[in-house]
Symmetry: C2
Subunit: 328 residues, 2 copies
Amino acid sequence: MAPQDNGRECLLGIDAGGTKIATAAVSTRGEILEQSELQTPAHDGDKMVKTFRELVANETSRCRGKGLDIKAVGIAAAGYISRKDGVLIESPNIAWRMVPLKMIAEEASGLPSFLDNDANGAAAGERFAGIAKGVDDFVYITLGTGVGGGVYTDGNLLRGNRGVAGELGHIIIDPNGPLCGCGRRGCLEALASGTAMGRKGAELAKDNPDTILLEMAGGDPDMITGKLVTAAAEQGDETALRTIKTWSTYLAEGIVDFIHIFDPKIVVLGGGVSESGHLFIDQVRDSVIELGIRVLVEGIPILLSKLRNEAGVIGAAALAWEGISKDH
Amino acid sequence: MAPQDNGRECLLGIDAGGTKIATAAVSTRGEILEQSELQTPAHDGDKMVKTFRELVANETSRCRGKGLDIKAVGIAAAGYISRKDGVLIESPNIAWRMVPLKMIAEEASGLPSFLDNDANGAAAGERFAGIAKGVDDFVYITLGTGVGGGVYTDGNLLRGNRGVAGELGHIIIDPNGPLCGCGRRGCLEALASGTAMGRKGAELAKDNPDTILLEMAGGDPDMITGKLVTAAAEQGDETALRTIKTWSTYLAEGIVDFIHIFDPKIVVLGGGVSESGHLFIDQVRDSVIELGIRVLVEGIPILLSKLRNEAGVIGAAALAWEGISKDH
């Protein structure tokens, strides 16, 4: 049974990233009531654990002091996670190995706590308080340094047998494509991440020395990033616009595969790159119709997340809400 | 609540294919108790409906006459299906359009009836009485004229928002690959179906005139089918073996994508081509390890279905069993 929302009941969401830990007390309606942020000693695993433990204890009592009735703690962390065990197995950016974050949070807060990876958290956040509110079947794709995602089917987050399902960034889009961080070629991540946008921009800039992209990158094409590409595109730069067009087509190919596989009601694009979504969303939508099986892809809205910076903590709070709604 | 298995309780499974309708009374333990088969006037939609109605009525009373207690009817049919409405919307091989098969079966039998597409039925059959018995998370891929599939996540068949999820044959494996029946290039179906195996065999045979494949095809490479390729490979023909090796790699690429997306406990290969599975299963397993992200693909068994000819009716019976187990 889901607890009732009496206006003061809330969830503590903790977004444990590579450089900071953000927390928020979030109402059961998805509004942020309290927020805090802490820089983290990401290179020192032991210190990180201590920092995390204190943060949970402090934020819990601080929120209680303000009259908030925290029902549960949700933790979204980057990395491989065993949700069942509540353990962060390994993180790409933090010196954490095999850390029982769920148990630590439960001890520090005295509350039921729930741990999942950041992409699943973000998907949960979209369903809790974002553009997928109340939608039972949707695919969420996060576009940032890499490409990740989370999938809801019939109201449940797809987790798989070991809890590592939803590696949406690592389907192959083009076997002859660029090398991916995973060691393979042409993964969606290698073609449709922010990093990939920068790489494509650099490639095109080499043949188009008049692009403002080069100027923005101090003359060195290898310094061109996804952010620079979107900034140049905002100014109407031809090379940047062409970069985004190609990039959008790759993204659309991935979306088509996911629609064919999952038959979602909507597709949601989140992550840092989605904040420049106005530059590519029309192209992505057109390409999905063009590249997909018409009867399957037509009429499936492809939408941009609106949660922005708050996606992390709201997603973490959503994990807590789902946890107590389903487990108790 | 699932009904109790008292030894005589059973399900009537109906496999409505393009050239025949097969039926079987299947025990709740998955054993076939009674069977029948009927050639169908596939080109005459109205006659098909009449035939179907009579068949359901006759088989129901015949089984009752033998003391079998049929609890429900399951229908697996090739084509686009609206499961919720119980309607076959369109079938590729039968002149059926918008046929309310569920309602017809319920009227003819007086029993709760359940309709789904054949690939979902086959997946359900594997979980009911096949190699995926009791497995909550698995991917089932059917390899025949085309490539289809069904996916179980957390014990539930993935259906999606409109019920058309699981189009596993239509993810793009190689954007420069051969044309697919769906009008696009390089779908898994265009590279890893039985048809694709024949096409690849024809391609290689043209450069290898000493292959027995040519002889078997009456000298015309365009008459080479998947069946001929497996038959030639059984005899150790080099060209046929090479064909199967390439084909296996494409199949493995699809399997890798599905493992990355779904994190299944096992992957099951079914359909006609899987009956020659001993010719390619080792290659497929090796390629999955080689092509996938090691930590994700390692230790996931890739298994061949053992249901063979009976997969259709057992799958249909499984749909009936799932229907009454979940809905009542």
